[in-house]
């Protein structure tokens, strides 16, 4: 009874809100309907409705998947500085970081589901009833760590919120243990995702030991960028208290991450361009194009330029401590990593293909609509979760009806 009571009493939160809230929900709903129409076509006719073909057999969906795994990883790693610097709202930072992680994992699994040819056969991958190719397939590892990570974060968040809701102290031992497990898990999910690509020698573009470290560094740029903005919004509209210094510290940590990311990328580029082997081909396609095929060039340079501007904005103390420039930087670094992971990572891995042929890939409208569907579902889930969390943490949301007797007696005692 206690189990169903909590969700039932918090559900009414979702229907409370001002016009802006309802407009946002309506907007998400419209996008969802538009996106679902696209995905329905894909389900009906097959992946031929995407622009992927044998030459470029993974593309936009898998790029989005990779990006979101990074967001999920970075959101939780933000818990470390919260502990190290002993920021006051640790609990809140943990909760909002993990909420973001949960939504990001849900979306990334969504992108795998829409990318596979037979989504109904998804059960083949489940341990026990299917035949997981464990431990040799990195994809089954990835699926496994993502699910575990999702479960850990769900348990922590639900436990914390439930405890605050019933006005009791949370189980420190349980939460601390799980939070400390979830931090290495966050590293693990992004590392395994990198290994997914980096372990296949057929694709020289990915076959670099630096791929996993670069993934982590780039994730640590983009993940906190969202939270940086979210924390400012929360501070403005709720009783969430986070000092300017804490926000600037996050920004400072992002500078380190960006520097490492930049350094790794330069190291990668140096090795490729100085040695100038045939592997150079893929970087060439990405940065300069091959012959008349320059499709990715605007994306790759846009990503580089946005990243560099963000780096400067975060590096210079004056612009880092100015919230306008700081937020511009956050948006730029987020966009830069999104383009890098979404387009500049997967497609050059396949172009030119293993037999040297160039197939020009750009996402089809169906792919964009399906991606919009997943993002809008993710945003909706995030909106709901954040709304519930805010109501419980900052607005002392309580249910009017009396609590069950058992709990009342417990509270009196």
């Amino acid at each position: 009874m206690k189990l169903t009571q909590f969700p039932r009493s918090i559900l009414p939160i979702l229907s409370r809100g001002n016009r802006g809230y309802y407009a946002w929900l309506l907007f998400l709903l419209l996008i969802m309907v538009w996106g679902a129409g696209g995905y329905a076509k894909q389900l009906n006719h097959g992946l031929v409705t995407t622009n992927m073909r044998d030459s470029v057999s993974w593309a936009f969906y898998i790029g989005n998947f990779t990006f979101l795994v990074g967001i999920a990883a970075a959101a939780v790693m933000l818990v470390i500085p919260a502990y190290i610097y002993n920021w006051k709202p640790i609990k809140e930072i943990v909760i909002f970081g993990e909420l973001l992680a949960i939504c990001a994992v849900v979306m990334s699994i969504g992108f795998i589901v829409v990318d596979i040819g037979n989504p109904l056969r998804f059960w083949h991958m489940l341990p026990g009833i299917g035949t997981m190719n464990f431990p040799s397939s990195m994809l089954s590892w990835d699926f496994f760590v993502l699910l575990t990570y999702l479960c850990i974060n769900l348990v922590v968040v639900i436990h914390l919120l439930h405890r605050i809701f019933i006005k009791k102290d949370y189980n420190k031992k349980l939460v601390l243990t799980l939070v400390f497990v979830s931090i290495p898990m966050a590293v693990a999910i992004h590392t395994v995702t990198a290994f997914l690509y980096n372990a296949i020698p057929a694709r020289p573009f990915w076959n670099s030991a630096l791929l996993a470290p670069r993934f982590l560094a780039s994730a640590f740029c983009s993940g906190p960028a969202i939270l940086l903005i979210l924390f400012q919004l929360l501070r403005k509209f709720t009783r969430f208290e986070i000092k300017d210094e804490a926000i600037w510290t996050i920004a400072e940590l992002m500078v380190y991450a960006m520097f490492i990311y930049l350094f790794f990328s330069v190291a990668e580029l140096f090795k490729e361009f100085y040695s100038g082997t045939e592997h150079l081909l893929y970087w060439q396609y990405l940065l300069f194009g091959i012959g008349d095929n320059k499709e990715l060039v605007p994306y790759s340079w846009a990503s580089i330029i946005m990243g560099c501007i963000a780096f400067v904005l975060f590096l210079v103390p004056k612009t880092r401590k100015n919230f306008t420039t700081l937020n511009i930087g956050a948006v730029l670094i987020y966009a830069s990593v999104y383009v890098e992971k979404g387009i500049a990572l997967i497609i050059p891995g396949f172009t030119p293909d293993v037999l040297g042929q160039i197939y020009v890939y750009t996402p089809s409208m169906i792919e964009i609509r399906t991606a919009a569907l997943i993002f809008s579902v993710g945003f909706l889930v995030f909106t709901f979760l954040v709304k519930i969390a805010i109501a419980i943490i900052f607005e002392d949301y309580r249910v009017e009806e009396p609590m069950p007797e058992q709990q009342q007696t417990l509270e009196k005692a």
Partner: protein
């Protein structure tokens, strides 16, 4: 009390939903059977026989023809190997189309298990400067040579390692096969294959009814469904019956050789021992059993 009531109605709704799901699937038991079918390698002999009988019936209904669906296993003492004479191949692509017909490959969207690359003699084997879409009036073209690429049937196949659900594996006779009913269509094997030898059914495959080859193997050329990966199996339906693959049979210049690597008297062994032989992308340690050689 209020809670109890809502829980009861919740349970009732769940029961209704489950019931209607079963009723819906009951409309198409065949689809449900397909959906629940286990990995081919975990099936018993009796289960395989049952599946094959039902497949033959299904194909008869669908294509109006009698199919022989074989599930013949590998024979002990046989390891298939392939050799292709680069000095003879003229790039006519007869093999490509013989393969399409023999193996019921989709005509639209078009799937080719064999890809013939035109290369410049000056540059040697250089994929970056090769062309699969060459289209002159007559082949061979001056200054060029031709490199047909199909599944290299690696001894160390990366495609089977990466498959998350063990839907693809290497048979004891060295042929790498796919269980089309188990493949989830993630295409990780295509990312891992260095030879572009795996092909995906991006749409429902289409084969004209009168061109359908009815002599099929469960792990080879039987009709495929959309959303699964397929590949060259050395014509498993033929070679396990002691015949040559279709591409070997059709080659007008005799550039293609096939045989048992474990038989010291075989032609393939003669070639390996007496000719200059190379394999593609040797540095990747995939150890192909598909050898290119110079016969003259």
């Amino acid at each position: 009390m209020k809670e109890d009531k809502s829980r009861r109605s919740f349970l009732k709704n769940m029961a209704l939903a489950a019931g209607s799901a079963i009723a819906l699937s009951g409309c198409d038991m065949k689809a449900l059977d397909h959906f629940l079918q286990k990995n081919f390698r975990t099936l018993s002999k009796a289960e395989v026989d049952e599946i094959i009988t039902s497949l033959q019936l299904e194909y008869k209904n669908k294509y109006g023809k009698d199919f022989t669906v074989s599930a013949k296993p590998a024979t002990d003492g046989i390891l298939f190997g392939y050799a292709l004479d680069l000095s003879r191949c003229i790039g006519c692509r007869k093999c490509v189309y013989a393969c399409v017909e023999e193996n019921n490959q989709s005509r639209g969207p078009q799937i080719h298990w064999i890809q013939v690359l035109q290369m410049e003699k000056e540059k040697g084997i250089d994929f970056a400067d090769s062309d699969v879409h060459y289209n002159p009036e007559k082949v061979p073209e001056e200054g060029h040579f031709y490199l047909p690429v199909q599944c290299q049937q690696c001894r160390n196949p990366q495609c089977t390692t990466v498959c998350p659900v063990k839907a693809t594996w290497q048979e004891p006779d060295g042929i790498v096969v796919v269980d089309y009913n188990w493949c989830i269509g993630c295409r990780y094997c295509m990312a891992a294959c260095p030879y572009g030898a795996r092909h995906f059914n991006w749409a429902e495959p289409s084969v004209p009814e009168d061109e359908m080859n009815t002599n099929v193997h469960y792990l080879g050329n039987r009709p495929r469904m959309k959303g699964v990966v397929e590949k060259c199996t050395f014509c498993i339906q033929r070679v396990r019956e002691g015949r040559y693959p279709a591409c070997v049979e059709v080659c007008p210049v005799g550039a293609r050789k096939f045989g048992n690597l474990l038989d010291p008297e075989s032609e393939i062994r003669y070639i390996l021992e007496n000719k200059r032989v190379l394999v593609l992308k040797q540095e990747l340690n995939t150890q192909p059993k598909f050898y290119y050689f110079f016969g003259v």
